[in-house]
Symmetry: C2
Subunit: 432 residues, 2 copies
């Protein structure tokens, strides 16, 4: 299709949802993308830009004339404009800001003044408020007359004369109440506000915990400055999950499948180098037992079994712990109980695996003492793995770090070192 | 507090949000929980039951008299009742169903007739509909008169006489339009429906992709049967993430930090046993090179470095790929490009790590040939890791399996086997 017919391209793309057009742009190669945009760029929509993955968005915005971007961005709610601007370089930001209407520009600049990753960056400035003394009828008449309502809104926020939010009323409640009912008598119990400097992670937690649909944002003087809606919170939740999963695997949190090889190397190499050194710890442990291995070379072949099964067990208990910390199911008040349960489960797993490995080892290697050494090393390492899998993220959390922060590398280093140490140490005692 | 004063307990719990009471019940130990419930059970709220983790909920419901549970459940929307019932045994389900009002009971039983994990189980039956010929005024008058509106609703759904949904109108639009405007002229563009048998995973994807707030559910004849709201979709999204993270680590998907040791063992032992056998593959590979190791015992000490660094690299590329498959950023149309990029990044990482390991190995072991063997084995294994990390989940997905399904075990087995094979094979050729 991209061989020249600009009208046809527009006709084909026109009925699609912005999110689907963004997906299409993401899926095709960089050259095709440039050709497609050259044919279609005049009509690009702000919503499409919003939906693009950051890496691709940067590429697309660079390839478009700044007027086109500014025009496209003009119809978006302020939170979406902020989302697009925050990834751009300062000169590109300036050009787009200049093209906005003054009132939007001020709103965007104000939002950008809050730290990255804060509630202030997530909120939209467009809010629907009513004075506290209004009745249902006043509010309905006001809404019917209002000219510029937000694209999406779910509540009317009740404020005092100082713009302090006092409560909110769902539109459903507003519609079903009699006209003479006072707004302050039908506010929702679930009402709560967040401060603009609050971290977005905390905001997502509040939405998820209390099933909120929207939440007013206040400044440090408790004055209403904006509102965060659930779609933004859902987005943050999604990003938090991504971050946990990638950090756990030792990948930079911004990683995306659309990154080029160099960006990919930059995200991953640091942890690989760290692992190179932690793996040398295992090598050092093994090298202390070279005499034992020289006496019985078969040990070298079976020793990774204990280490590797320990690594899997450690990863299992780590994944459960990191998830539980993220959902706040694991807290300081039940940490001791959870650790105890993990270690008990680890011991049971260890005994079962030890029986299997001990029997198979005895049969294959023809030496019951070898089977015994394998079995005892397995039990030890399974218990260490279960313990380490919970303690590493708990410790990181206690020091104010992200509990997922490459804990995978720490835990497998622990289980490797302990696996080799237990196995070769026992072998030296029992077999020589 | 739990030493006897029932009134005091009620007074303390009363102002708390249901989600916070549920958290409190989850955090305390089993004995304290039983004591607390004995003091407070009479007033337990359906919302609190809804918020509890499944494991704890089962325990709590068993400890309560069925009348209390039935009473508590009565005020919930049907989707929440279904959510509670689906985890219970048949006799307990029956008792609660018997206690419901007939109309609710029919609705719940109908929802339970849809397969577990389908849109039919997620939806609530309470919907607000309007005939297609109504005006804004008709709808507002209807809402003002209606006695039983759902707890939360965000749209009025327009239906034809056969109850086929034709579009929906946001309440905000309804409030701001003139009374004589026809509803069908102010419907939303984003309108779409899902079929009740659709998988909940697909539903969550649609909400996230198109930023929906609610979505009507239809039966196979395209008749409206219910509506799914964004809080349910957010919940599913959250569970999908949990599932991905746990499956990737080789843990049963239902795992929770509140499970007892036996449940924990049951979720984890199967994959540990699988790993015991896959790890034996590495042992077999190493055993083929016993003569090489006997000739140069130092090999046994350094060989895990190559295998372990490969394991981390494989896990990194796996995490990115599994996440990209979940968000549908990685599809058959860009798979080839992504694999190529991964392998390129893997090769670059391999070269950098090879230089470091080669130099350090040469210095520490005093043998440049050993350094060369380490370096070459590292490059090989990094490329294999990058390739395996993407191909394993892509292959699982192609066969209709969950791409996260213990792919961690597969990938680390691959990198272990290749790491030992490349290192010991090269060592046999170069050093002996």
């Amino acid at each position: 299709v991209d061989q020249g017919d600009s009208a046809l391209v527009s006709r084909l793309l026109e009925p699609l949802h912005a999110a689907d057009i963004a997906d299409l742009l993401e899926q095709i190669g960089a050259t095709e993308r440039r050709e497609l945009l050259a044919l279609w760029s005049g009509e690009i929509d702000g919503d499409v830009l919003s939906e693009l993955d950051e890496t691709i968005r940067e590429e697309v915005i660079e390839s478009l004339p700044p007027e086109v971007v500014a025009e496209a961005v003009r119809d978006l709610d302020t939170d979406d404009v902020v989302d697009i601007l925050e990834d751009l370089e300062a000169p590109a930001q300036g050009k787009i800001l200049d093209a906005l209407e003054l009132v939007d520009r001020v709103a965007v600049e104000q939002a950008m003044s809050f730290p990255e990753g804060s509630a202030g960056r997530l909120m939209q400035r467009e809010v629907v408020v009513a004075p506290e003394h209004w009745t249902v009828g006043d509010a309905i008449d006001f809404l019917r007359e209002a000219t510029a309502l937000p694209d999406q809104f779910y509540h009317v926020i009740l404020v005092d004369p100082r713009m302090k939010p006092l409560g909110y009323i769902t539109l459903g409640r507003l519609l079903s109440a009699r006209r003479d009912v006072r707004l302050k008598d039908i506010t929702e119990d679930s009402f709560r506000t967040v401060v603009a400097t609050e971290e977005e992670e905390e905001v997502a937690y509040i939405f998820n915990q209390y099933h909120l649909i929207s939440c007013p944002v206040v400044d440090e003087n408790d004055r209403l400055v904006g509102v965060i809606t659930i779609d933004d919170a859902m987005n943050v939740l999604d990003e938090e999950h991504e971050e946990d999963m990638l950090l756990l695997a030792g990948v930079g949190e911004e990683a995306s499948v659309f990154d080029g090889p160099i960006a990919t190397v930059r995200q991953r190499l640091p942890w690989l180098v760290v692992n190179l050194f932690t793996a040398s710890l295992s090598a050092f442990v093994i090298s202390r037992f070279e005499a034992t291995i020289a006496a019985l070379v078969a040990l070298a072949a079976v020793m990774p079994i204990v280490a590797s099964t320990g690594g899997i067990a450690g990863t299992q208990s780590l994944a459960v712990a990191v998830r539980a910390l993220a959902t706040r199911d694991l807290t300081s008040s039940n940490a001791r109980r959870v650790v105890l349960r993990e270690v008990t489960a680890g011991a049971i797993n260890g005994v079962v695996l030890a029986v299997i490995l001990g029997l198979v080892g005895t049969l294959v290697l023809g030496d019951p003492w070898m089977g015994l050494v394998l079995a005892l090393a397995m039990i030890t390492n399974q218990i260490v793995a279960a313990f380490g899998g919970v303690m590493v993220p708990l410790t990181l959390e206690r020091f104010g770090l992200d509990p997922a922060l490459a804990s995978g590398t720490f835990v497998t280093t622990l289980t490797d070192v302990m696996g080799y140490l237990a196995f070769l140490g026992l072998a030296t005692m029992v077999l020589l």
